[in-house]
């Protein structure tokens, strides 16, 4: 078993009176492809927002590789190695695919501070982006503005931009939402492959149970801001509580 890359302790969050995280304790192991599932309003998105910095942490602590990060701004967490993709496509719409990927790549090496250099001369970043384009399968459309890509390609780019900062922990919020079956298989195969390579630990939030159970090594079930079940896909399938609350009897 790998090291703990993320340790969450007593994480609590309220939206007014609504509790979306109730003294949550959760560890993520490096290299273990983990899925977070749960009914709507279970607190899945809130959890990701708290960990990545979209929401301020009200109480509790988050340790990333042993370091407290719950008060850091987003971009510093990204530089430490935590990134995410979004459920809704969230890219730079009027920039080309290439430029979309260049921004995080250049930012990672601090080269976006260079105000008098030519972008054509950034060879290292360009090579990295080229690899990334091959990896996510967008090499053919690299000079296309992102907002005219097909929805599936925009989703791919969304994941690509998140991968470009070379995160060691990557949250994917419904990465296959709105994709056709062909694209879906491509993305999932990509995730499986990248997860095996071991540089990035993936955490998925998914609604599609087929994907969750076929891809994950560990499944965490959230319900009303609390952890209802946690274990291998087999264990979760057979967990009585989870079946009552969430899966129904269909599985």
């Amino acid at each position: 078993m790998g090291d703990l890359i993320l340790q969450i302790r007593k994480l609590t969050n309220f939206f007014g009176m609504v509790c979306t995280a109730k003294e949550l304790d959760l560890d993520i192991e490096a290299g273990v492809l983990t899925s977070i599932i749960g009914p709507n309003g279970a607190g899945k998105s809130t959890l990701i927002n708290l960990i990545t910095g979209n929401l301020p942490v009200q109480s509790g602590s988050i340790l990333f590789k042993g370091r407290e990060i719950s008060r850091l701004p987003i971009h510093q967490r990204v530089r430490l190695g935590i990134c995410r993709s979004f459920q809704i496509v969230n890219i730079f719409p009027e920039l080309t695919v290439l430029e979309n990927l260049l921004i995080p790549t250049l930012a990672l090496s601090g080269r976006t501070r260079r105000f008098f250099a030519k972008i054509e001369g950034e060879d290292r970043a360009r090579d990295q982006v080229k690899n990334l384009l091959e990896k996510v399968g967008l090499a053919g459309v690299k000079d296309t503005p992102a907002n005219v890509l097909s929805h599936g390609d925009q989703r791919l780019l969304e994941v690509g931009v998140a991968l470009a900062v070379e995160p060691s922990l990557l949250f994917l919020d419904e990465p296959t939402a709105g994709m056709n079956p062909v694209e879906r298989v491509k993305v999932l195969e990509n995730i499986r492959q990248l997860s095996r390579e071991g540089q990035t630990t993936f955490v998925l939030v998914e609604h599609d149970m087929d994907i969750v159970f076929s891809l994950s090594e560990r499944v965490v079930v959230l319900h009303r801001g609390d952890i209802l079940g946690d274990g291998t896909p087999e264990e979760i399938k057979n967990n009585v509580q989870v079946r009552e609350v969430y899966l129904g009897d269909s599985v």
């Binding site: 890219i91 920039l95 930012a107 972008i119």
Partner: protein, 320 residues
């Protein structure tokens, strides 16, 4: 992005035309050309903030005035070397932009715009009321154009308008080149990203606040440079340079010419100054006529004059 041959030709022709104006035109034309170039420096720098980063500031008149008064004080009390004076103008404007920007970049959109407006008007009131220091509504007067001296070895006189014209032209060309380099640099790309999607930019590892502050200071420095040049031209610095009416000029000019192009603020400056001169001969209410033209352009020609031109010759606008 490589310049296409017609763009190269346009650049060379414009430069030749500007040199030609300096050599052969009458005094009035030379004066107008200087006003165009000074406004263009102001607008080019400003457009890094508005067109590139997507931040609307109503307070850049304050930095223009900081440059003007900076050069004025420096010239009256320390040294009347014009280049040192311009350096002082840029430094003072940049420092002021750093202080004001520090408070403004925490906010976006309407809050950012209103904060810059408030700070700008504070600077205006300060210049207006601190009569002992700033000369109040008279401003600073009697600022001389001494020769540009290079360590006493070489002295270039700029006392006559025709001579000064070439200093303005040189500063203008350098500024335009610098702005274009910034636009096409990695920083420029990061700024475009912040304009397109600030949240994603943050998740790309960019400290959005710091980048906004950086471009705020850069654009403030260009405003200060323009202010310094105008003070040398008119031999005075006036509090109305900091007024929000003046802060609006680079916005109007950028809208007129086209927000997301390099040439937009240049074309806008030419049209702005030319229109003002022509319309003012017939009526005092030149802003009325200017407003109508602006309305037509904003409602009918998105992307300004340059945007329309680019579409006409079949070149897609491009996001940058």
């Amino acid at each position: 992005m490589k310049l296409k041959s017609w763009q190269m030709a346009l650049v060379v022709l414009s430069l030749l035309a500007l040199v030609g104006v300096g050599l052969f035109s009458g005094r009035f034309m030379i004066y107008l050309a200087m006003r165009v170039m000074i406004l263009a420096i102001f607008a080019l720098g400003y457009n890094l903030l508005l067109g590139q980063t997507g931040l609307l500031s109503f307070g850049h008149g304050a930095f223009y005035a900081a440059g003007a008064y900076g050069l004025g004080f420096f010239g009256l009390h320390l040294s009347s070397h014009p280049l040192l004076g311009l350096l002082a103008a840029v430094v003072l404007a940049a420092v002021l932009a750093l202080i004001i920007g520090f408070f403004c970049v925490r906010h976006t959109e309407i809050y950012f715009a209103m904060l810059t407006l408030a700070f700008g008007m504070m600077v205006f009131s300060l210049l207006w009321s601190a009569r002992e220091v700033t000369g109040g509504d008279d401003g600073l007067v009697g600022i001389m154009r001494d020769p540009v001296s290079f360590f006493g070895l070489l002295e270039i006189p700029i006392g006559k308008d025709r001579q000064y014209y070439f200093l303005v032209l040189a500063v203008f060309v350098l500024s335009a080149w610098a702005v274009q380099r910034i636009r096409l640099s990695p920083l420029g790309l990061a700024l475009s990203g912040i304009r397109e999607n600030a949240n994603r930019a943050e998740f790309a590892g960019l400290s959005v606040k710091n980048y906004r502050l950086a471009v705020f200071v850069i654009s403030g420095a260009f405003a200060g440079l323009a202010g310094g040049l105008e003070t040398l031209l008119e031999s005075n610095a006036r509090p109305f340079m900091a007024h929000w009416g003046h802060s609006a000029e680079p916005i109007l000019v950028s809208l007129l010419g086209g927000l997301q192009t390099f040439a937009g603020p240049l074309a806008g400056s030419v049209i702005f100054i030319a229109m003002r001169e022509m319309v003012q001969r017939f009526t005092e209410n030149w802003m009325l006529w200017f407003g109508i033209v602006l309305l037509v352009i904003i409602m009918g020609f998105r992307g300004g004059v340059v945007g329309v031109f680019q579409r006409l010759i079949g070149q897609a606008g491009g996001g940058r």
